[in-house]
Each structure stands twice: as structure tokens, then as C-alpha cells.
Amino acid sequence: MLQVVSANRLTDGTVVYLDPHGNWVERLETAAVFSNDAECGAGLEKARAAVAGNLVVDPFAVAIVEEAGERRAVSLRDAIRALGPTIQFGTSSAARR
């Protein structure tokens, strides 16, 4: 089973993934993919260091699949975390972000 390590960024809560260089990135596509539990465990160890370093919170392993060159999270919950709400929320043109 393929896995990536995800967490929420401390400062703004944004969903982030551990990349191969040890950075926290916002796109699942650029995350480091682990092909076994031992590798993933090492990734989670890095994540715990990032928690101690006040970069991220609540890290966990996310099961993914790769199909036709595209990655997606296996569970709906993790897919929604990766892609954002499945609904088109109304917004204000003047909103900051």
C-alpha cells in the first residue's frame, strides 16, 4: 500500500504533505510516497520532529493510490482534505484569500 505523510500547518491549519526533501508542501502530487510501513514510519518520525519544531500539528499516514499518473487518497475524508470541499461555497470578491 502506498502512503504519504500529512499534517496541518501550525500557523494557518492548511493541509500539508511531507515531500522527499523534508519540506511541507500543499500539493499531494509533490509529496514523498512511501511504499512500505517501515519507510512510512521514518516519514512519520520526521513529522514528529516537525511537530516538536512547531511547523505542523496532528501528522498521520494517508493511504493513496496512483492511477494513470495521478495520485489520489484512498478514503473520501483524505481525498476531501487533499482537494478541498466538494461544494462551491459563495465568497466575497473583496475577501483576502
Binding site: 496541518n8 501550525l10 500557523t11 494557518d12 491549519g13 492548511t14 493541509v15 511537530v51 519544531g53 512547531n54 500539528v57 496532528d58 484512498v74 478514503s75 473520501l76 475524508r77 476531501i80 482534505r81 478541498g84 470541499p85 466538494t86 461544494i87 461555497f89 459563495g90 465568497t91 466575497s92 470578491s93 473583496a94 475577501a95 483576502r96 484569500r97
Partner: protein, 552 residues
């Protein structure tokens, strides 16, 4: 409406300063997440799927235009331009940065608002009838008593670490618009045989994973004893609530396990024992708080409005809006107007910054500067002159806020569900949107009549599905969303929990299943006057179940 005095202002300002310091210490690493989590939750800051979420209390659902404009400003400046009104008369912002939260709370404090006790095992935002103070049928405005309870329970030293969260609702009319029987404590203002006004007290109601209807443990609590009696209930709960098991820690489980008669006896004993030491409410204090909620000075008007009647006679859209969204005011010549936040296919309870600003402007111009938030996730303009209704309606149409569907099949209550919530097991909002689109806003929805559909995205039941006439509970079965249906629930004075129809439905099937239930109702009703709930109470589950499960 209530205005902060110097004590309130200092209290909230101190809390903002304290939280600013705590956030600073968290960001610098001085506090760990484990240390910080309870502190942020005490200030309404949750971490959801995509971001932090800030839950802000709207005490008893009452807002001034100034406060609504501040919410619009916060939506624009610190969030993505919208907010979400919840089933507990709170507003939630879904995307604030942690670093911005102290600034947001500071902005809120400037308009006498805060997020204190919108999380944690304490007394949460005290809710009420959204028509309070304006409703033609109420005995007395319940909001002064909500405010007294709010002040008393804010950072209460004994009751800030209860076994679990604690929700109180107060209503002032026999017609229960505040769902008091599904609260930990529900107070209903009543008149006793001597003509005195006090409270009937219900205890142990609640939804969530173990839904219960509250038990009436006292027919009449005198006003002076409101705090003493509430304190007695909380003391018993604080002592005996199941702290050993989070899922059994609510007072409803205690009441269920010991029995309402035993709890009543214990509460009465505690009340009698501590009555002299407890806080007896002086009449002068009740009067002082009531003065804040005095009915605005509404100039006398004729009961009939020529402008209103003329527009109603010639404009079918206006007539529909009036029929569906306007109810009687206690003063002749005025109406209470509900602004539906359920546009067809829209997100229940969401409002953009522009819509919030529009609601604030309209309240200022037409409703004595007051907006209410309904637990059904709509807004209310409580004091509108009938003469002004045509102009107000035109403005609402311009702002796309004139959906005439209050109480209809498309006026759906829905929690944020798996699109936002870290606890959710399935999505709620897209199901609400598809049901809304299926029934639309034409003659079909009006032909169906009053029908409350409530949707929750998990067993915690923030969408109050157990008390929907039709309730939908989103679960995850074998990694796929599955929706369980209940029917026959009701949150009003004839409170009842819905009954599960049978096996759940997939996301693809659920809207057809709801339509099957509605079509079955239309076939079996005796007349248009018999609404869905009345028909269900007459015929029971059988025809609905048969239609649902023999469909395939």
C-alpha cells in the same frame, strides 16, 4: 438589546489579551500543541479538515446591524468571504489563520461579541426562540433570562469543567421554536395557577449518539429561583455525571440511567439545601436586564396596510414570500420576516460578506437595527412594518435573499459534514443541495407543505436529524457514504425522535429515497391540511417503509 457594561468589556478584553499571549507562546514554541489545544478550544478555535475554524457565540441569536457588519468584515478580511450559521445560533468561520484569531477576537470584542465557551465541557451558548420579544404568542421575552444565565455561567468556577458540554435553551411561548426538549436543560416560560410567570424545567434531552427527549422535572420554577435551580441541576450533574466514559458523560445518560424521578428528587433536595446560599435573583436585577430587551418603540399602525394588501393582491411572488416567510408580530401593523439562507441548491446557513452587509442595512432601515439567527440556519428581521414589506421584499430580491421557502421541503437544516468537519463520516451539504434542487421552489414544494428535513454528517447529530420530520444521517459503510433515514421526528412542543426506516441508502440513491417518502405522503394525506408529520403520526411507519424498500 443587551449592552456590555464596564465589567463585561474589561472581562472580554482581558480574555482577548490572554489568548493573544497564548497564541504568541504557541507560535514561538513555548507551548506545545498538547498544552495549547484546550486553550484554543476555550476560545472557540477548532482545527478542522482544511484549516482552523472559529466558532463565535451569538447569544440567544440576537445581533445588531453593527455586529452583523463586523461579521461581514471578519469574513472579508480574515476568511474567504463567507460565514456559516449553525444550529446552535453560532456563526463559524471556516478558514481563519491561527495567527489572526486574536485580532478577530479583538474585533469581535469591539462590538460586544466573543467566542468564550463555544467549546469545552462548560455551559455553551444559551439559545432561544428567534422570534423572542416579537412573537405574538409569547408569554414573556425569554432573552433576559438567557442573558442572566449567560452572565452567571460565563467562566463559572464550579461549572467550567463539567463531565461534558452543557446546552441550555429558553423559550417564552407554548409553541416551542427553540427545541427546548432536546437540550440538557430546557426552560419554557409558563404562567402558574396564581397567574405568576416562571419556568417549566426539562432536563436530560439531547441528540448525538444517544438521542433523548428531556423529562419535565418541575412545572414551575419561580423567576427568583432560576439560577438556584439551574445551579442545583448542574451540581448534581457535576457530581454524578459519567466522567469515566466520554460517550456516557452527558446529563441525558445520567437522567436515563437513574430515572427522571430520582434526578428530580436529588435536584429538589440540592435546591432546598442550598437555596439560602445560592443566588436568588433580585427583582431589581431582573428588571435591569429586562430593560435592555424592551420592545423597540414601534409607532402605532393600522392592523391592515393598504400598500401591503395592494402589492399582495397583484404580485404572486410577493404573496408567496409573505405566506411563507412572514409571521404575526405582537404589535398590530408589523410582521416578523425570515430571510431564508436556503436558496435552491445553495449551502444551508452560509452567508457571504455582501449578504451579511445587506442584512445589516435592511435591519437598520426596516427592523429597528435588529437581526436574529434561527437555529434553522436562517436570519430574521423581527420588527418590520407591513407598510415597509414591499420595499424590503424588493431589496431582498436584489440581494438574492428572497427565497420564499421557510418551513418547506427545501428549508433544510444541514451540518457542515465531511466537506469541512474533522468528525464527520459523510457529506451533508451536497445531499441538501441535491434535495433542494429536486424539489425546487415552484408549486410542487408549496403543494407538499410544511416538511422539515434535517441532515447530519455523523452520529454527533449537529444537523439534528433525529428531530427532522425526515432525518438523514450520513455514515461510512465499507469506505463509502451511506445515508440512514429516520421519519417522524419533531423538535417542537410535541417533541419526538424519528424512527429509522431500515437499511441505509447510497449517495446516488438518497435523493430518490426522499422523493419516494414525499410522494408516499402526498398519496396518503387526507387533505393539504394534514402535513407530513401529522400523516406519519396517523398511519405510522408501514406505508413509508413499504414504499422505500419495495421500490427496487
Amino acid at each position: 438589546m443587551y449592552r456590555y457594561d464596564e465589567f463585561d468589556a474589561a472581562f472580554v478584553a482581558e480574555r482577548v489579551a490572554q489568548f493573544k499571549d497564548q497564541v504568541g507562546r504557541r507560535l514561538s514554541g513555548e507551548l506545545t500543541e498538547e498544552q495549547f489545544r484546550p486553550l484554543r478550544l476555550m476560545n472557540g478555535v477548532y482545527l478542522q479538515l482544511h484549516a482552523y475554524m472559529l466558532r463565535i457565540a451569538i447569544p440567544y441569536g440576537t445581533l445588531s446591524s453593527r455586529q452583523v457588519r463586523k461579521l461581514a468584515h471578519i469574513a472579508r478580511r480574515y476568511d474567504k468571504g463567507y460565514g456559516h450559521f449553525t444550529t446552535r445560533q453560532n456563526i463559524q468561520f471556516n478558514w481563519p489563520a491561527l495567527a489572526d484569531c486574536p485580532a478577530i477576537l479583538s474585533e469581535l470584542a469591539s462590538v460586544e461579541m466573543h467566542a468564550i465557551q463555544t467549546s469545552g465541557n462548560d455551559v455553551r451558548n444559551i439559545t432561544s426562540d428567534h422570534f423572542a420579544g416579537a412573537a405574538a404568542d409569547e408569554i414573556e421575552d425569554p432573552r433576559p433570562y438567557c442573558e442572566i444565565l449567560r452572565q452567571w455561567s460565563s467562566l463559572h468556577p464550579e461549572f467550567s469543567f463539567l463531565p461534558r458540554k452543557f446546552k441550555i435553551a429558553v423559550t417564552g411561548a407554548a409553541r416551542d421554536r427553540a427545541a427546548v426538549q432536546v437540550h440538557d436543560i430546557g426552560y419554557q416560560i409558563v404562567r402558574n395557577a396564581q397567574g405568576e410567570i416562571g419556568f417549566a424545567c426539562y432536563v436530560g434531552g439531547g441528540l448525538g449518539r444517544t438521542p433523548m427527549v428531556g423529562h419535565k422535572i418541575r412545572d414551575f420554577v419561580p423567576k427568583a429561583d432560576l439560577l438556584a435551580y439551574t445551579s442545583a441541576i448542574l451540581s448534581i450533574y457535576n457530581l454524578e455525571g459519567r466522567r469515566d466514559n466520554k460517550f456516557k458523560a452527558r446529563i441525558k445518560i445520567l437522567v436515563h440511567e437513574k430515572g427522571a424521578d430520582v434526578i428530580r428528587a436529588e435536584v429538589e433536595d440540592e435546591f432546598a439545601r442550598n437555596r439560602d446560599q445560592a443566588v436568588t435573583l433580585p427583582q431589581a436585577e431582573i428588571d435591569r436586564i429586562r430593560a435592555y430587551f424592551a420592545l423597540p418603540d414601534l409607532p402605532e399602525r393600522p392592523a391592515r396596510s393598504t400598500a401591503f394588501d395592494a402589492r399582495r393582491a397583484k404580485d404572486a411572488a410577493f404573496a408567496r414570500f409573505v405566506d411563507q416567510n412572514v409571521v404575526a408580530h405582537k404589535i398590530k401593523g408589523y410582521g416578523i420576516v425570515t430571510i431564508s439562507l436556503k436558496p435552491i441548491g445553495g449551502i444551508p446557513g452560509d452567508a457571504t460578506a455582501e449578504q451579511l452587509d445587506a442584512a445589516a442595512d435592511l435591519a437598520e432601515r426596516y427592523s429597528q437595527d435588529e437581526v436574529r439567527v434561527a437555529h434553522e440556519q436562517n436570519l430574521v428581521l423581527p420588527h418590520v412594518a407591513l407598510d415597509d414589506l414591499p420595499a424590503l421584499f424588493d431589496r431582498l430580491v436584489e440581494q438574492q435573499l428572497a427565497t420564499a421557502n421557510v418551513g418547506l421541503v427545501t428549508d433544510i437544516i444541514a451540518c457542515p459534514g465531511l466537506d469541512y468537519c474533522a468528525l464527520a463520516t459523510a457529506r451533508s451539504i451536497p445531499v441538501a443541495q441535491r434535495i433542494s434542487e429536486r424539489f425546487g421552489n415552484g408549486t410542487r414544494a408549496r403543494e407538499i407543505g410544511d416538511l422539515k428535513i434535517n441532515i447530519s454528517g455523523c452520529i454527533n447529530a449537529c444537523g439534528h436529524h433525529h428531530v427532522g420530520h425526515i432525518g438523514i444521517l450520513g455514515l461510512e459503510k465499507k469506505r463509502v457514504e451511506s445515508y440512514q433515514i429516520t421519519i417522524g421526528g419533531s423538535a417542537d412542543e410535541r417533541c419526538a425522535l424519528g424512527e429509522v426506516t431500515g437499511p441505509g441508502f447510497s449517495s446516488d440513491e438518497i435523493v430518490d429515497a426522499i422523493e419516494t417518502l414525499v410522494d408516499t405522503y402526498l398519496k396518503i394525506r387526507t387533505s393539504r391540511e394534514e402535513d407530513f408529520l401529522a400523516a406519519y403520526r396517523r398511519v405510522g411507519m408501514a406505508p413509508f417503509k413499504e414504499a422505500l424498500y419495495e421500490r427496487a
